[in-house]
Symmetry: C2
C-alpha cells in the first residue's frame, strides 16, 4: 500500500488516522501545482484531489473517509470508527456534524480568501465572511457539546476527533480560533494535541 | 424505531434507503417552521436538522448517512453500502464524491436563492451562481464516469445512487438539469427513477 498526499487538511486526516492505527504505510508527497498530477502521479485521482490510497494490486481509493473506512475494516484495532452498529452510527454522526459544520466552513473561508485558490475557486468575499461567522458559531456549539464528554463522539478517541482537530488547526493561524470562553473545547484541544498523531 | 422527517432532500435519502431495504419504519413529519421543533418534536436534534432516527430505547441518531449506516449494519440485506472492505470503501468514495460535489453545490444554490432560507442562511447571489456552475461541471463529470458502469459505484445499486438521484431531482425543477448531451447520466437517471423507492 501507498498513500499519495500533500501538506493539506485532508491528507493530514489520513496521516493521523494511519498513525493512530500504528500502521506504517509509505506516504508520497505529490506537488499538484508543479505538474506532478500529469507526470509522476498520473491520473490516479479523477477529480485531482488528494489523498489517494493505492493498494498493491493498483486499486485506487480516494476521499479521506473512504480510505479511513478501508483501513478500519482491514485493521480493526484500535477502533477509530466505533464498534457495533450503534457506536459506528454515533461516530459517523459526530464526524459528519464536524465535517458539514465546522470543517466545511473553515475550509470554505480559506478557499474563498487565500490567493492559492484564486484560479480553482470563484472566490466570493461576502460568502467567506458568512462562512467565518458560521464556523465561529460551530465552535461555540461544539464547546457546549463537549461539556459532558471527553472526546467528540463520547468516551473514546475517534475519527471525529481527527476531523475536528484538523479543522481547528486550519483555522487557528488566521482568525477562526477557540475563544478564551470555550473552556471545554480548549480542554479537549489540549488533550488531542498532545497525542503522537498530532505531531 | 421511528424516523422524524419532513419533505426535504435529506429525509428523502433516508426514506429511499428504508424502502430499498424493504423495512417498515414509521415516518413522522415534523414541521419545523410551525413550532414542532419546540413542542411535539422536542429537542431531539441538537442542530435542529432532520431526519432523526429514534430507537425504541429513546436513543437518537441524526445525520442521514449515520442513520443509513445503522440500518445497513442491523439489516445487511440487500446491501446498499458495499460488502467487504474494498467494496465498502468504494461505495463510500462514490457517495462522498456525489455529496461533496454535486449534492453540495445544488443544495448551496438552493439555500442561497430560495426565499425559504433567507432567515437561516446569509444568502450571497454571486456564490449561488458559482455553485450552479460547479454543479453543472459535476453533472458532466458524472456522465463521463457512468460511461462504463451501470450504477454510480459499479454494478450494484447503492447509497451513492440515492444521493445522486436526490441531488439531481432537487436541481431539476429549476435550472440545474441533465443536459441532452449527457447520455449516460440520462440512461442512469431513467433506470433509478423507475425503482419503487423513487416514488
Amino acid at each position: 500500500m501507498k498513500i499519495y498526499g500533500m501538506t493539506a487538511p485532508n491528507p493530514k486526516r489520513v496521516r493521523m488516522f494511519v498513525e493512530e492505527k500504528n500502521l506504517e504505510i509509505p506516504f508520497e508527497t505529490v506537488d499538484l501545482a508543479a505538474g506532478d498530477a500529469s507526470e509522476r502521479f498520473g491520473n490516479r485521482s479523477p477529480l485531482g484531489r488528494l489523498p489517494v490510497l493505492e493498494l498493491d494490486d493498483g486499486t485506487l481509493i480516494s476521499e479521506s473517509v473512504a480510505i479511513c473506512r478501508f483501513l478500519e475494516l482491514e485493521y480493526p484495532n484500535p477502533p477509530l470508527m466505533g464498534v457495533g452498529a450503534l457506536e459506528q452510527a454515533e461516530v459517523e454522526m459526530w464526524n459528519r456534524r464536524i465535517e458539514l459544520g465546522l470543517f466545511r466552513y473553515i475550509a470554505d473561508y480559506f478557499q474563498h480568501t487565500v490567493p492559492f485558490f484564486k484560479d480553482s475557486v470563484h472566490q466570493v468575499p461576502e460568502y467567506a465572511e458568512a462562512a467565518k461567522a458560521s464556523a465561529r458559531e460551530q465552535l461555540a456549539w461544539l464547546d457546549g457539546a463537549l461539556a459532558d464528554r471527553r472526546f467528540i463522539a463520547g468516551d473514546s478517541y475517534s475519527i471525529a476527533d481527527i476531523t475536528a482537530q484538523v479543522a481547528i488547526d486550519l483555522g487557528t493561524p488566521s482568525v477562526i480560533t477557540i475563544g478564551t470562553g470555550l473552556k471545554d473545547l480548549s480542554r479537549w484541544h489540549t488533550e488531542v494535541s498532545a497525542r503522537a498523531s498530532a505531531r
